[in-house]
Amino acid sequence: MAALLPVPAALRAKRRREAVRTLAFLSPWLIGFAVFFGYPLVSTLYFSFMHYDGFAQPTFSGLKNWRYVLTSYPFFWQGVRNTLWLVVVMVTLRVVFGLGVGMLITKIRTGAGFFRTAFYLPYLAPPVAATIGFAFLFNPGTGPVNHLLGTLGLPQPGWFTDPSWSKPALTLLALWGVGDLMVIFMAALLDVPREQYEAAELDGAGAWQRFRFVTYPNISPIVMFAVVTGVIQTLQYYTQALVAGKVASGIIGNSGQQFEPGYPQGSTWTLPQMVYSLGFQRFDYGSACVVALLLFAVAMAFTALLLRRRSGLMGAED
């Protein structure tokens, strides 16, 4: 690097001015990022090493919170398993189902508007109301779903009351609200150049080959987007799991009432619920911060892993 030449003072001043101008334009975002992301992140890291009950001054506790969460807190690993189950199964099924519905609706000649609306509307339902509705529909004792299954002579699962079926029931709820992905996939599918299909057909490509070699390469950035955002959303899965557990357990949540998190038997217990429970019910903000940081690290790792596939993000021609 001995060839470095001295930069003229005028050029340095110009570069400085440009840098200041750029920073000025970026400042609204930078301030927002620092206040709403940087500060909370560093505070979370700080509190993860402190004993803090939310009232008294925090005191340094070293790795105590980390050790407690990872080795003594009995619900941590169950929450990790549940969250990962939802990430793998729910995200995969939502992407596949959203893409499938999108493909079907783009192919329908008549009534496409009706089906588009019908599939999109559930996405607009407030999560709490939708979950309560689902819990009643899938009530094993009085719900119409099991009544119908019984009439057809099929097994009647316990759904939200059975630890084996509670996560699949939540997945069904997520599939019902797949309208967001459907719309995105429809836009991507309609953007695929028609001539590529015509060329593939002329080459004798069947339906699967047309999807494999024409559709997928064109929409892969959208698929990647759906997977990345789906993973992040599912790692933050809170409302539906909490409401379904409370409704199915019969504990609606009177003030002052203790409730079992993750009913039934911890099967709907997710990491974000753990953050709330540790921090606001057990007054253990340090441990809550540990879980929040682990959640953040997992989300970052998942996202980085998926984004490493640059071709997936940029599309086939890039």
Binding site: P58, P74, G141, A248, N254, F280, F283
Partner: protein, 448 residues
């Protein structure tokens, strides 16, 4: 190499920023202190936050506040209704002029944290100054759940007592003359009252599953008088014979009434606990363990059958303690950050210990009065079904769940164990309870 000289600066700057943010984080934890230096005889305004929201409840509070202001014309009370515990905690953390002086909470389990952290002021000096002895003023269980390790930072503001509700028509039809007093009588009645069908029940005598609304382990344990912790503050569930006895009784009753799976399926058909679809109100169960508030619900919902209340039965070997029950209730205290603690104490004292105030509030919201004097007052609701709960509240054997440093976490641990045990996932009760003890002790050690 301009870049190589800048890197250390950037690293230093980044570390400095992180340290600054960490310092800020530490600074944002609230530290303002209040005191009892105000003159309660001077003109002042205090703020009272509470969680009640129903119009009848809010009116009852307003009436009591009006009566207080008449007695203390110099103390004006700004009342803020429908405040959740999270909001109260946030305000107590931050302090300042907008924070409340007097607070009440439905989350009795948090007394341990409120007292240990000092966020609710110590009431002992105020009680001494007013010559009020909690032991002779409040029933034992209520006096117990409002203190933690001798630190009294709260007083009871009305209470809840748990007893037995039974369907008199169903009793008559089954040939049962009177409510059961011991658990063996209760079990026999539950079996007699149960009408099983091929896939479920047309009526269940009693829902023993721990998710059957109020049929929780802690409510049942009130009939045994479990202590939960030993003298050293360690969880003693495995060592306490009362706990094992309760689980064994519940497991036998579950089996007698048809088994866990069948009962759970039936339970999923229950409506909302706090509506006219409550299973006791619909006749789906003939007996239920519930709080005193149900007497008002049953009247308001106009149930068509004849019903009555009684103390929940006790273990056969403790028949002499019949009349006891589990108790909990709302708590009231003074914010540590309050600058007007003497004036605040006047309001707390009035609401929690003035017999007329306690009685009128109890009558208005159908809760149990929280002082001995109010329990004996002729002005308190004398309905015989409500009277049952007054007697339970005044019974010396009635008990509660003690305050803990981490709120109700130990109760959640016990509940979770109960769900596993009743579903047959825990073959060894003693070993299972020892595991719960370990879990509770670890959580408490973490919280201290």
């Amino acid at each position: 190499m301009t870049t190589s000289t800048r890197r250390p600066h950037r690293t230093t700057a980044a570390l400095a920023c992180a340290a600054a943010v960490a310092l800020l984080a530490g600074a944002c934890t609230g530290s303002s202190e209040g005191g009892a230096k105000d003159d309660a005889s001077k003109d002042t305004t205090i703020t009272f936050w509470h969680g009640w929201s129903q119009p009848s409840e809010v009116k009852a509070i307003s009436d009591n506040i009006a009566a207080f202001e008449k007695l203390h014309p110099n103390i004006h009370v700004k009342v803020v209704k429908n405040v959740t515990d999270d909001k109260i905690n946030q305000a107590l953390r931050a302090g300042g002029s907008d924070a409340p002086d007097v607070v009440s909470s439905f989350t009795t389990d948090n007394v341990g944290k409120f007292c240990a952290s000092g966020v609710w002021a110590d009431l002992k000096p105020f009680l001494a100054q007013s010559h009020i002895d909690p032991a002779t003023t409040f029933p034992a269980a209520m006096a117990d759940y409002t203190q933690y390790n001798g630190n009294r930072c709260a007083l009871p503001l009305l209470g809840d007592a748990y007893g037995l509700y039974y369907n008199k028509d169903a009793f008559k039809a089954a040939g049962i003359a009177s409510p059961p007093k011991t658990l063996s009588e209760f079990d026999a009645d539950a079996r007699k009252l149960t009408k099983a069908t091929a896939n479920g029940y047309s009526r269940l005598g009693f829902m023993p599953d721990f998710h059957g609304y109020e049929s929780t382990p802690t409510h049942f344990l009130g009939q045994w008088g479990a202590t939960y912790f030993d003298k050293n503050g360690k969880s003693d569930l495995a060592a306490d014979p009362a706990v094992s006895a309760m689980f064994q009784w519940q497991q036998k009753l579950v089996a007698d009434l048809g088994g866990f799976q069948k009962l759970e399926k039936y339970r999923t058909g229950f409506g909302d606990e706090f509506s006219e679809k409550n299973p006791f109100e619909t006749g789906q169960v003939a007996m239920a363990i519930d709080g005193e508030w149900r007497t008002a619900n049953l009247k308001a919902d106009g149930v068509t059958f004849d019903w009555a209340t009684a103390p929940f039965p006790v273990p056969d070997d403790q028949a002499a303690t019949y009349g006891r029950g589990y108790q909990t209730g709302t708590i009231i205290g003074i914010a540590r950050t309050s600058q007007k603690q003497n004036a605040a104490w006047e309001l707390v004292k009035y609401l929690a210990t003035d017999t007329d105030a306690v009685v009128s509030f109890a009558n208005a919201i159908h809760n149990v009065p929280s002082t001995f004097a109010a329990l004996k007052s002729p002005k308190v609701d004398q309905d015989p079904n409500f009277r049952t709960f007054l007697d339970i509240a005044g019974n010396a054997h009635s008990s509660t769940t003690p305050a803990s440093i981490n709120g109700g976490a130990y109760q959640v641990s016990l509940q979770n164990f109960g769900y596993k045990y009743e579903s047959g996932q825990v073959p060894d009760l003693k070993a299972g309870l020892a595991g719960v003890d370990k879990e509770i002790d670890a959580a408490i050690a973490q919280a201290q």
